[in-house]
Symmetry: C2
Subunit: 96 residues, 2 copies
């Protein structure tokens, strides 16, 4: 994963995304602590499900931000094919 | 979430679960760093999908461990109703 993959356009939700990932990181740390303390399995499973939901919402935010900025720019410049194919590949991992 | 929810039976996969959660924590940290560096959205989305898969596999491990130990014990003691209903509630969050 090289640096030439860096973006050259703006992402309005970047700070929001970083903030959500920080919260998820803290949440994982909390669940790990629950496992260390030997807490009830169903309780731990509920927290893991909540983290999964938060991850999905973060992915949705990244995707819509990407479409609203990167894809719209690409269409204006007439080179949307690569951007569209990348988005489709990413979607395949979330919607099966 | 009180201490009286602590388990009083063995979980064979406890260390494995804690280890997986540690790896997921590191993975999230890495993805946050990618977002900070402004890496490609589809690349970030791929990593988030991988984390979701790792979370699901950890949940599956907790659930099978719970069934093989907690549920089997409960059946031997004739009080499986509460354990079964907790497992069903937890499953509802993963399978819709």
């Amino acid at each position: 994963m090289a640096n030439d993959h860096e973006h050259n356009h703006e992402h309005k939700q970047r700070k929001n995304v970083i903030n959500r990932l920080s919260i998820i990181e803290g949440h994982i740390k909390g669940v790990k602590q629950m496992a260390i303390e030997g807490r009830d399995c169903p309780e731990i499973l509920l927290q893991i499900a909540a983290i999964r939901k938060a991850l999905d919402n973060t992915a949705k935010l990244i995707l819509t931000d990407h479409m609203e900025n990167c894809l719209v720019n690409a269409v204006h410049e007439g080179n949307e094919d690569k951007v569209l194919s990348d988005i489709k590949k990413a979607l395949d991992n979330f919607i099966r």
